[in-house]
C-alpha cells in the first residue's frame, strides 16, 4: 500500500521534476553568463502562467500555442530589462544587481496585479489520462514534461552547435579573450539574458499545464526558492545541471511528502517546503558547486 503510493508519487515527482528543471535553466544560464542572480525569477514564471491562461481563456487556443507567445514576451522583456537596467550593472557590486532583479520582479508582479487582480485563478484543460496502475497521469502533464525535456535538448544543441551559442560559451570562459577575438560581448550578454528570461517565461507555460490552478501575481515567490535549491543542486552556473537538479528535486519533494504524510501530528505539505529550504542550506554548506562536478 505504502510502496504503491510511494511509487506513484515518485513517478509524478519525476514528471514534475523535469518541469522544475526547465523552470530553472533560465536562472542558471543568466548566472553562468552574467554572474547575476535573478532574484525576480519567480515573477517571470508567473508571467508565463498568465500568458497561458490568457491564451487559453481569452483566445480559446490550446495551451501549447502559448509557448511561442511566452518565448517572444519573455525575450522581449529580457532585452528590455537588459538594455535599460542590467547592462549598467555588469561591473557594479553584487548588491546592485540583486536589488535590481528583485525590483524588476516587483514591477512585474504589481503590473499583473493591476491588470488581472490578485485573486487566485486557474483553468481546466481536458486531455484525457494515462493510467499506470499506481498513479494516473493526465496527458497535459506528460506533454508539459516532454516539452521541458525537448527545450533542454534544444538549448544544449544551441549552445554547442551554433555560432551564437559558441560565442556565448566563449564569453563564459573568458570575456576579455572573447572581446579580443571580435565577439560582441555586450550582445552575448544581452542574448543570454533574453534567452534566460524567455526560457523562464516559457517554463511558466509548462508549469501551468502541469498545475493549472493557483495562478496569482504572487505565485512566483515559492518557485524562486525552489529554483534556487535546484540551481544549487545542479551547480549554479550550469543549465543542464539545473535540468537534472530539477529531476532530483521533483523526486525528493514527492518522496519526502509521501513519507511525512505517514507521521501523525505534522502538516506534510508545509514540512516538505521547510525541508526543501533546509536542503538548500545543507548543499550550500557542504557542496556549493553542485552535485555533479567539482571545480
Amino acid at each position: 500500500m505504502f510502496a504503491e503510493q510511494l511509487a506513484g508519487n515518485l513517478i509524478q515527482g519525476l514528471v514534475l521534476g523535469s518541469i522544475y528543471g526547465m523552470a530553472t535553466m533560465g536562472l542558471s544560464m543568466i548566472f553562468g553568463v552574467l554572474q547575476v542572480v535573478n532574484v525576480g525569477h519567480g515573477a517571470f514564471i508567473m508571467i508565463g502562467a498568465f500568458t497561458t491562461m490568457t491564451v487559453f481563456t481569452k483566445l480559446g487556443l490550446n495551451p501549447i500555442f502559448a509557448i511561442p507567445f511566452a518565448l517572444v514576451i519573455g525575450m522581449a522583456l529580457g532585452f528590455l530589462f537588459y538594455y535599460v537596467v542590467m547592462q549598467r550593472l555588469i561591473k557594479a557590486p553584487e548588491l546592485a544587481s540583486l536589488l535590481a532583479t528583485f525590483s524588476i520582479g516587483i514591477i512585474l508582479e504589481e503590473t499583473v496585479k493591476l491588470t488581472f487582480g490578485s485573486e487566485f485563478r486557474g483553468f481546466n484543460w481536458e486531455t484525457g489520462k494515462l493510467d499506470l496502475g499506481v498513479t494516473v497521469l493526465p496527458y497535459s502533464k506528460l506533454i508539459a514534461a516532454g516539452g521541458s525535456a525537448l527545450v533542454a535538448l534544444l538549448l544544449y544543441l544551441w549552445y554547442h552547435k551554433t555560432r551564437s551559442g559558441t560565442a556565448v560559451r566563449s564569453v563564459i570562459e573568458d570575456s576579455e579573450g572573447a572581446r579580443v577575438c571580435g565577439i560582441n560581448v555586450n550582445w552575448a550578454y544581452a542574448l543570454s539574458f533574453a534567452l534566460g528570461i524567455g526560457l523562464t517565461v516559457t517554463s511558466g507555460v509548462f508549469l501551468t499545464m502541469f498545475i493549472p490552478v493557483g495562478i496569482n501575481p504572487y505565485m512566483g515567490g515559492g518557485y524562486t526558492v525552489k529554483a534556487f535549491v535546484i540551481a544549487v543542486l545542479g551547480g549554479l552556473a550550469s543549465p543542464y545541471g539545473a535540468f537534472f537538479g530539477g529531476l532530483i528535486f521533483g523526486l525528493m519533494e514527492n518522496g519526502s511528502y509521501t513519507i511525512l504524510a505517514t507521521i501523525k501530528g505534522v502538516e506534510p505539505f508545509a514540512l516538505t517546503r521547510f525541508f526543501s529550504f533546509v536542503t538548500l542550506l545543507v548543499i550550500l554548506l557542504i557542496r556549493p558547486t553542485g552535485l555533479f562536478k567539482s571545480q
Binding site: A92, F102, S103, V266, A270, F277
Partner: protein, 333 residues
C-alpha cells in the same frame, strides 16, 4: 585610536528626528497612527541598515527575525498570563525572549549563510522567512498555522486600561526607542573597529582578509545585532500592538521589500539614511494610500531601479558628499 571631539555629534540629527516624531504625535493626537507608522518604518530601516548598509550583503529573509521576535513576545504573554502578579515582568521577559529568539535564529542562519559570499549569501537567505513559516506550520509548534491570539492574556496580566494603553500608545513609544537605540548602536559600530573592518570588507573582502581582518567575526556581529533589533521591533510593533500573531503575516516578504526600499532611498551604510528613507517612504505610502491605493510598490520599485543605476549612494549619501568640508560634515553621517 584617539578620542576625537565631536565623535558622536552625528547622533544629534538622528535622535532629534525620533524625538520630533514623538513630540509631533503628542501635540497632534489624531496623527498618532501616522507617527506610529513612520516610527515603524524608520526603525525597520535602522535595524536592517545595521547589516545591509555596513556589510553590503542583502538578507532577503530579514523579516523572519521580526516574525520570530513577534512570536517571542506572543509566547511569553500567552504562557505567563496565569502567573499571579507578573505585571510588567512579563513585558521584560517578552522583550528578552524576542531578542534571544531572533539572536538564536540569526546564529543558525548566519552559521551557514555568512560563510558564503555575495550571490550565494542572498540565495541562502531568500528562503529563511518562508522556511521558518513552514516549519511552524508543518511541525505544528507554537500553535501551528492557527497562530496565537493573546489579547485576553494581555488584559489578564495588565488589566483592561493598561492593556489598551500598551497597544495604542506604549508599543509605538517602544518602537521609537528601539529605532533610536539602533541608531546609537550603528554609530558606535561605525566609530569602532567593527565599523572599520566592515568598511574594508564592503570595499574588498579579499583584500580585507589578506591584511588580517577576521571578516566572518564582524559579519556575524553585524548580523546578530541587526536581527536582535528586528526581533524587538516585532515584539513591540507587531505583538504588543496587534495582540495576535499569524504565520503568513509574520513572515511576509513584503516587509523585507519595504526595508530594502527604505535603506536604499535614504542611503545604505549611512546613519541618517534609514530615518530619511523611512520618513520619505512612510509619508509617500500614507499619501499614496489616499490618492492611489495599492500603487505604492509599483511606484517605488522603479524608483529603486533608478537609485541603483544612477544614484547608488541614496539621499543621505548624496548630502554627505555635498557637505564635505563644511561645518555640517560632523552631523550628516
Amino acid at each position: 585610536m584617539s578620542a576625537r571631539p565631536g565623535k558622536y555629534l552625528a547622533l544629534i540629527p538622528v535622535l532629534a528626528a525620533y524625538l520630533g516624531m514623538f513630540v509631533f504625535g503628542r501635540v497632534q493626537p489624531d496623527m498618532w497612527q501616522l507617527v506610529a507608522m513612520l516610527a515603524f518604518y524608520c526603525c525597520l530601516g535602522q535595524a536592517f541598515n545595521l547589516f545591509l548598509g555596513m556589510t553590503g550583503y542583502v538578507d532577503f529573509g530579514y523579516v523572519a527575525f521580526v516574525g520570530v521576535g513577534t512570536y517571542g513576545m506572543a509566547l511569553t504573554l500567552s504562557r505567563l498570563s496565569g502567573v499571579e502578579g507578573i505585571g510588567f515582568g512579563a513585558l521584560v521577559i517578552g522583550l528578552l525572549a524576542a531578542a534571544g529568539m531572533s539572536a538564536m535564529l540569526s546564529i543558525a542562519v548566519g552559521a551557514v549563510a555568512l560563510r558564503l559570499r555575495g550571490a550565494y549569501f542572498a540565495i541562502a537567505t531568500i528562503g529563511v522567512n518562508e522556511g521558518f513559516r513552514y516549519f511552524i506550520e508543518g511541525a505544528r509548534i507554537w500553535n501551528g498555522s492557527e497562530g496565537i491570539i493573546f489579547s485576553k492574556d494581555l488584559r489578564a496580566i495588565f488589566g483592561r486600561e493598561t492593556a489598551i494603553a500598551l497597544s495604542t500608545f506604549w508599543a509605538d513609544v517602544f518602537v521609537i526607542v528601539i529605532g533610536a537605540s539602533a541608531a546609537v548602536v550603528t554609530l558606535i559600530y561605525m566609530r569602532s573597529k567593527i565599523g572599520f573592518a566592515l568598511t574594508a570588507l564592503r570595499e574588498d573582502e579579499d583584500a580585507a582578509k589578506v591584511i588580517g581582518i577576521f571578516v566572518t567575526k564582524y559579519k556575524i556581529i553585524a548580523f546578530i545585532t541587526s536581527a536582535v533589533f528586528a526581533g524587538l521591533l516585532g515584539a513591540t510593533a507587531w505583538a504588543l500592538k496587534l495582540t495576535y500573531v499569524y504565520p503568513p503575516d509574520a513572515f511576509e516578504i513584503h516587509y523585507t521589500v519595504e526595508a530594502i526600499i527604505i535603506v536604499m532611498l535614504g542611503g545604505a551604510g549611512t546613519l541618517l539614511g534609514p530615518v530619511v528613507g523611512g520618513l520619505l517612504y512612510g509619508l509617500s505610502k500614507y499619501w499614496l494610500a489616499i490618492i492611489l491605493p495599492g500603487f505604492q510598490l509599483l511606484i517605488f520599485a522603479p524608483i529603486i531601479l533608478v537609485i541603483i543605476v544612477a544614484f547608488p549612494e541614496g539621499t543621505v549619501g548624496y548630502l554627505k558628499k555635498k557637505v564635505r568640508g563644511t561645518a555640517l560634515e560632523r552631523y550628516i553621517v
